[in-house]
């Protein structure tokens, strides 16, 4: 619903809630939990509960009221002890086990339940008695109560909800409820404790799916619509096991398939638990950066070792082969040793997949490149001089409109796609487009007056710097200035005394004034062939 919502953000070693207006309040971390400032916060929502992982030392759970808890609260360690609690109507022997539970603060529904305690020993055979369960453990973490399940008389082997022990103080409960009064539905069979802190988590088909730091080859998943229930049997080994120390490198939740990547393979999970299958998509470059994985309208994009790939109905295909391969296969443009730190987002306004990479020689993901889905073309590398990017996300405003943000190293989030052409006035956005004309490269040409069309602005100018000659021609010392208040202009001849002729003309369009818009609509350059030299 528009107007609702808030953000959960990481600022270094702290977590915050943040209003839609950007007012942050630090969240209280559970005792013993730390946040690693070198890692990024990840999360997934299920059933109005947000699971957070990545940077916290343990997987956390944020309820709708801003309370952070450990997701994996230890289950009760000891079994309850059953005995007669006095006169009643029960006759026979029983077994019991119990869980810890947490209620929603408003609806009072149970929204979290631990795995079971060990099963009690069979009670002595009661005769016209009520049943007492003692040794009900007090949870170390904050819980709202303990839920006790027992068998029917016998003891039977199936457990049914028997009684709740409200609060986290009492250790004994006595209840004379007969078998017919037990819960009609057997005790849940999908409870379980998360085996370790999650590194990755996504929501897919009403379950959470994740990879832990400890068992990197296993894909774990929850019970249906239970963010807290991670049964020990709910995992899928992603082969080849032990192939490397990284294991699963990315999760790609498409409509009917969950992509699970390793560095050199892509698998997919199909079906619905328990009837799921793991199918190899191919021995193809898989994701190398978990945060580069973005699913856009059932197409999964990710950064592979040698480029960006899309996995869709047509299989896995590179989308960089023809145009920008050197970006990913040479060290000229980006610091490839930090590819595993890359992060990406979907920029809906531009319909573009935007990927942050570290500039060559740099140690932060301070550049980004954009694959425009409509044009099927890459633009970039982009940069800002206002801040150093550290993360990215797609958020939603009070009107329900999604917008991308970039988090910076100083603790700010920056909303993209603003109407202004300014990154906050710290420094102008450097619009820097370099185009090379290779037409008939073996033919030396004279480059005549350039006619240019630009979108008309109220003020401002565009600098155009020609370089005429061969591929290594130097930029001309005197650039051309185009008045942006004119939609069309006839500029000077490109060939100069210093560069009278050349086979190739390279043009650099540059506009770096803060908050100055600039649009190049086209240009025309008459050329006069001079012959082959």
């Amino acid at each position: 619903m528009p107007g609702e919502g808030f953000y959960v953000v990481q600022g270094g070693t702290k977590l915050y809630s943040m209003t839609l207006a950007g007012v942050a309040t630090e969240l209280t971390l559970p005792t013993g939990i730390t946040v690693d400032a070198t890692k990024r916060l990840r999360g997934a929502m299920l059933n109005r509960q947000l699971v957070l992982c990545g940077s916290p030392s343990e997987t956390l759970w944020l309820d709708p009221y801003g309370t952070l808890r450990r997701l994996a609260i230890k289950s009760p360690a000891g079994p309850p002890i059953l005995a007669s609690g006095g006169a009643g109507t029960l006759t026979g022997s029983y077994r019991a086990k119990y869980t810890f539970f947490v209620r929603d603060k408003v609806s009072k529904a149970v929204v979290w339940e631990s795995s079971f305690s060990p099963v009690s020993a069979a009670s002595a055979s009661l005769t016209n008695a009520v049943l007492q369960a003692s040794n009900i453990e007090i949870a170390a973490d904050t819980v709202d109560g303990r839920r006790v399940y027992r068998t029917t008389t016998g003891p039977g082997t199936s457990y049914f909800k028997w009684v709740d022990v409200e609060g986290n103080l009492q250790t004994v409960v006595i209840d004379g409820l007969g078998d017919t009064g037990l819960g009609l539905i057997a005790a849940p069979t999908d409870l379980g404790t998360l085996p370790g802190p999650l590194e990755l988590v996504v929501e897919w088909k009403d379950r959470l799916w994740g990879k832990t730091y400890a068992a990197v080859d296993n894909l774990y998943y929850t019970g249906n619509r239970k963010h807290y229930a991670w049964p020990a049997t709910n995992f899928i080994p992603i082969r080849p096991l032990g192939d490397d120390l990284i294991g699963i490198t990315g999760l790609l939740p498409r409509r009917d398939e969950l992509g699970v990547g390793r560095v050199n393979k892509l698998w997919k999970v199909v079906g619905d638990p328990p009837n799921i299958q793991l199918v190899k998509v191919g021995d193809v470059p898989g994701p190398v950066a978990p945060d580069s994985c973005v699913v856009i309208r059932d197409r999964a994009f990710y950064l592979g070792a040698d480029g960006v790939y899309v996995w869709d109905a047509q299989g896995v295909n590179s989308i960089v082969d023809s145009d920008v391969k050197p970006w990913f296969t040479t060290d000229t443009y980006f610091n490839r040793s930090r590819f595993n730190r890359a992060f990406a987002r979907y920029n809906e306004a531009l319909n573009a997949y935007e990927l942050h990479l570290a500039n060559a020689g740099d140690s932060s993901e301070n550049r980004w490149i954009a694959y425009h889905l409509d044009e099927k073309k890459w633009l970039g590398p982009h940069k800002t001089d206002a801040f150093t990017p550290a993360s990215s996300a797609v958020l939603q405003d009070s009107n329900g409109v999604k917008f991308p943000v970039i988090g910076d190293s100083a603790g700010f989030f920056w909303k993209m796609n603003q109407a202004t052409r300014s990154d906050g006035g710290v420094a102008g956005i450097v619009f820097d487009v370099k185009v090379r004309h290779n037409h008939l490269p073996n033919l030396v040409k004279m480059w005549l007056q350039m006619a240019i069309f630009t979108r008309q602005e109220v003020f401002g100018s565009l600098t155009i710097t020609p370089a005429i000659g061969e591929l290594d021609a130097s930029d001309q010392a005197t650039p051309i200035s185009h008045d942006l208040t004119q939609e069309r202009a006839l500029l000077r001849r490109l060939s100069t005394a210093a560069q009278p002729v050349g086979a190739i003309c390279t043009l650099t369009f540059r506009q770096a004034t803060d908050d100055q818009d600039c649009t190049i609509l086209g240009y025309e350059i008459p050329v006069v062939p001079q012959g082959r030299r």
């Binding site: 600022g11 270094g12 946040v35 609806s107 920056w414 796609n417 908050d515």
Partner: protein
């Protein structure tokens, strides 16, 4: 002259900046397109400088680098000062006031002009006098408050919903169990309670003075918030009719040991209130758990430290009490009023900051009653505030006690002096020990809190 090089893309969404093989025309290779986007403006294509960026948070996160952000698609109802948008408390008296989310300002709520609208005086003072409004007047679920409504000029009890902009009649309470025991106008809603995303409410049916004895009848209903349908809980109604559950009407509800508990009362001198439990959907009818003291009426229940506490009010001659039931089924009295005067009472049991808070009234009568707030930590009681003497000193009207409501980790509690004084205060405590005045008015007559509207 050879053909000129043309790189035009007027109005076609983007310059054709294709890296072409050298033998093709136009051989145009984009080397760099820094901070350029394909312009999707309706006036033309081309390459445009990208849009700027502005800070979402004007103050840097103190912890350091902004290393991740997630959008949470619901607002936090429990922490309005720091998280999403919502409306605050709805407090009613002379009109209905809406407390702002940051608890800083009152504004008149349009709910007062809505139809249906809350009718605070239509029922919860039966059989009590106007001094006690401490039972819940509504119940909150995400995005809505359910309350006892009043529709037009017809005085019948109805369940209504308020979502912040519109009030809607959800269900009229079905006619009383027994023809002649009371007409629609005598059906009231005594209290609300929510657990497991289900609303429970208790009604009082009939005029207590008409039949005497156990003459206040009642029922308990479940309101399913998904379908907003009412279902009676238990086959038996409460009251002195044949087969009825003795002990008056259900006055307070609680959830304990997997059961819904209802505590009744009438304040008739010969009637002892009773405590019942039921497992909705499992049990056919209510189970009697305990019979109280004659001429008492239960007022309030709360689960505190894993035990069920319930308070009573006394009509004549004996002291009201607070009792508890343990998880092991053991009953005991934990506090007895020093007063045995008419209407000495305990009510308003609420848990805040791991303390059980409540009020104690030690006498009654015009201008003579004393209302004190206490806390209990499981072993000791501590008086925290003498409401009458601190906030209404010198007034002569009876002290009316509203209902306490938890909001943002604090408990809010309205009190007012009935005519001729009409003054009122809204008290707040975040710890159960100290109370501050959030608002006071000479004329508002704050009867109670309808609830908290949470998104």
């Amino acid at each position: 002259m050879a053909d000129p090089l043309r790189v035009f893309d007027l109005g076609q969404l983007g310059v054709q900046l294709v890296r072409s093989p050298l033998h093709q025309k136009p051989a145009t290779e984009v080397i760099r397109a820094q901070n350029a986007i394909y312009d999707k403006d309706e006036r033309g294509g081309g390459l445009r400088k990208r849009g700027g960026m502005t800070k979402l948070n004007s103050v840097a996160l103190a912890g350091g680098a902004a290393n991740g952000a997630l959008y949470v698609a619901f607002a936090d109802p429990g922490n309005p000062l720091s998280i999403g948008e919502r409306r605050g408390l709805y407090v009613f008296g002379n009109g209905i006031q809406e407390y702002s989310p940051d608890l800083s300002a009152w504004t008149p709520s349009s709910l007062a002009q809505a139809s249906p609208f809350p009718e605070p005086q239509n029922g919860d003072n039966v059989p009590f006098n106007t001094e006690d409004h401490s039972a819940p007047h509504g119940v909150s679920l995400p995005g809505r408050i359910y309350f006892r409504g009043y529709v037009g000029s017809a005085a019948f009890a109805a369940i209504c919903r308020w979502n912040g902009t519109q009030a809607a009649l959800i269900a009229k309470i079905p006619a009383p169990w027994q023809s002649g025991a009371g007409d629609d106008g005598d059906v009231t809603i005594k209290t609300f309670f929510v657990v497991d995303n289900t609303v429970y409410l208790a009604t009082g049916d009939g005029d207590p003075g008409a039949a005497g004895g156990n003459a206040l009848f009642g029922r308990v209903f479940k309101l399913d918030p998904e379908t907003e349908t009412l279902t009676q809980i238990g086959t038996s109604a409460w009251g002195s009719h044949s087969g009825g559950l003795l002990g008056g009407a259900p006055m307070a509800l609680a959830w304990f040991s997997g059961r819904l508990w209802a505590a009744g009362g009438t304040l008739q001198s010969g009637v002892a209130p009773r405590l019942y439990s039921i497992r909705p959907g499992v049990d056919e009818d209510w189970t009697l758990e305990e019979t109280g003291t004659a001429a008492h009426s239960y007022t309030s229940m709360a689960v505190y430290k894993g035990e069920l506490y319930y308070a009573s009010r006394c009509a004549v001659g004996t002291a009201s009490r607070i009792r508890k039931r343990t998880a092991a089924g053991v009953y005991s009295t934990v506090r007895t009023n020093a007063s045995t005067l008419v209407a000495n009472s305990y009510a308003g049991l609420e848990v805040v900051n791991d303390l059980l808070v409540f009020y104690e009234r030690d006498t009654a009568g015009s201008g003579g009653d004393t209302v004190k707030l206490f806390s209990y930590d499981g072993s000791a009681f501590t008086e925290r505030l003498d409401v009458r003497n601190i906030h209404f000193n010198g007034t002569t009207g009876d002290l009316s006690v509203g209902n306490p409501v938890l909001y943002d980790g604090a408990v809010y509690w309205p009190f007012s002096i009935v005519a001729p004084d009409d003054g009122s205060v809204l008290l707040k405590s975040t710890n159960g020990t100290s109370w501050s005045v959030l608002d006071s008015s000479a004329t508002d007559n704050l009867y109670g809190i309808l609830g908290v509207l949470r998104d």
